[in-house]
Symmetry: C2
Subunit: 336 residues, 2 copies
């Protein structure tokens, strides 16, 4: 059965039936002109949106509808995590060809529900539109954070240390492998990088910890590649940064894939993107306190650079302080 | 110049420069992982989203980018108006082919700014994605309303009167004329229905008045056609309704276009959609009070039917109470 047989309202009804659950603060969910919710006093509301387009951001030959749904949600959850906020409510706007199987929409929503369920997020609204050639999934996600506690990109200061959670490069290595399936790698490596690419884990608990700690000056999530993302902090904070290429934490599977492809794993880690780890800055004086708190909660961080006074550019250096030689660039949605 | 030459970040920078204005309650707008705002105590937050797809919801040969932007915003503002809320913040998610001229995006944002400006709405975030074949514009709009004062679809009661603001059918007549340009009508008629179709006026002040009055039981905006929209109230309120075909307020230009096309103007008014008037219900005892308040603020309303106990269906009748004979149906995004 395709969605044109079910019709718009049949489809909405089908979705609604699986989502009708109460949520704290929710006054009215799906079924009206708009959703209504309350914000607890003392909290600020955080909101983000991100669209995924079939064939551009996801390929149906590589991912199940459920995986596509999970990832579309996860990407937005990661943005809320990067603000130090707790995600609360989600709206889903779908563009779908008329011939879309109902099972595709069911799978997407299964993925949304799974991903949202693990973070206590309620799906409270959305929209359905026809899009002839390809599907798009545009998600709006809300969150909340204690007043004055949101983590911004614009508040890094010169001499702050730059750290990143987890290891980088796995997602980009996974994509490279999907696009070059003939490359031979260990099955475990293939699984690990595919998982990193398809099923990113938003760092909500870590973002909350960083926010609550009061020790961090700026933060964002690694979506465009660590180098370009640090560049966003530089631009918004109006200062520069130095990134030590030799300090970048590389995922072992990323290294294995890079070797098999004859490429530098740092390319994946610095310019690949979609790792959805958090990148954050803090004064050197807060380093020990932060390390203690992170370790106490089972999180890792690696110091990879330092903010610098001057022009808002990222200099990537080798251990000797010389420029690391590269011409690669991060992800740009309209180039290439 | 097309957007691939400017690049994603160049495009975002260009948009941001024109939008960097402070707004009440806004803590952080465009430029971070998410926007941040505060909600005044005693208020509930209302949120809606609606996507417009090129060639499906708008045709670039009939509308300027500015008009497309205005209408995409207006449609969402109308949903917030139908909740009785005041619109506050907007997020814009665009899907664009690489070859999109920068002037198209500039025009869209000019339209967004104009429409938002007249309602005091701040554009606080968004997303840019590549979509190869056609543009889509997905807007998320927030609003606020006094706690407990939102107007829902689910709260109409049997015997409530059903009223509609303004005259219906103009927008659908405008679309019919655009699709049949060879039809001869008076130039003023053509202008009027084209204006109704291209440049709907969301009824924010009326929605606020209905909410504040406390006299109304349910409300929505007329987007799918008055008959289908009243059907939404029936479904959500789990009761029926009777609609008097002879009571429907028809716009004079809609009548002129229908005559020129040899069609029944009621088809446009009942099943055409996109009028963006408000349709609302209230107990008969509140009729005089409501009429007084509306007239006092320069608003018109026409009573077009009544809610009925029983199955959630809309019966359309002639003055004699007989079924009005039609097989036309409202707008369905995936059929046809």
């Amino acid at each position: 059965m395709d969605i044109s047989q079910l019709g718009e309202f049949g489809l909405i009804q089908r979705i609604k039936e699986n989502l009708d659950t109460p949520a704290p603060g929710l006054v009215r969910g799906i079924g009206d002109d708009a959703a209504v919710f309350e914000s607890p006093s003392g909290m600020e509301i955080v909101i983000t949106c991100d669209a995924q387009v079939e064939g551009v951001h996801f390929l149906t030959q590589f991912m199940t509808p459920e995986q596509i749904g999970r990832k579309a949600a996860a990407i937005n959850i990661s943005d809320i995590a990067a603000m130090g906020a707790r995600p609360t409510f989600m709206l889903v706007s779908l563009g779908l060809p008329k011939t879309t199987p109902v099972s595709f929409v069911d799978g997407l929503y299964k993925g949304f529900r799974e991903e949202c369920g693990s973070f206590g997020i309620a799906i409270i609204g959305g929209n359905m539109a026809q899009c002839p050639e390809r599907a798009f999934i545009d998600i709006t996600l809300l969150g909340q954070v204690e007043k004055g506690r949101a983590l911004y990109r614009s508040t890094a200061r010169p001499r702050d240390l730059v750290a990143v959670s987890g290891a980088l490069g796995g997602s980009a290595a996974g994509l490279a492998l999907l696009l070059n399936p003939e490359i031979q790698v260990d099955e475990e490596v293939r699984k690990a990088v595919f998982q990193a690419h398809v099923c990113p884990k938003p760092k909500v608990d870590l973002g909350r910890l960083l926010s609550v700690s009061g020790l961090v000056t700026a933060a964002l999530d690694v979506s465009d590649g660590a180098a370009q993302d640090l560049g966003h902090i530089c631009e918004e904070s109006k200062i520069g940064a130095t990134l030590r290429a030799d300090k970048i934490p590389l995922s072992p599977s990323c290294q294995a894939v890079a070797q098999a492809l004859g490429r530098d794993p740092l390319e994946f880690a610095l310019f690949g993107g979609e790792d959805y780890e958090l990148l954050f800055t803090f004064p050197e004086a807060n380093k020990a306190g932060l390390e203690f708190r992170l370790a106490d909660s089972g999180f890792a961080m690696t110091i990879i650079g330092r903010m610098e006074p001057g022009e808002p550019v990222v200099r990537i250096t080798d251990p000797a302080g010389k420029d690391w030689n590269t011409h690669a660039a991060g992800w740009n949605h309209f180039q290439g």
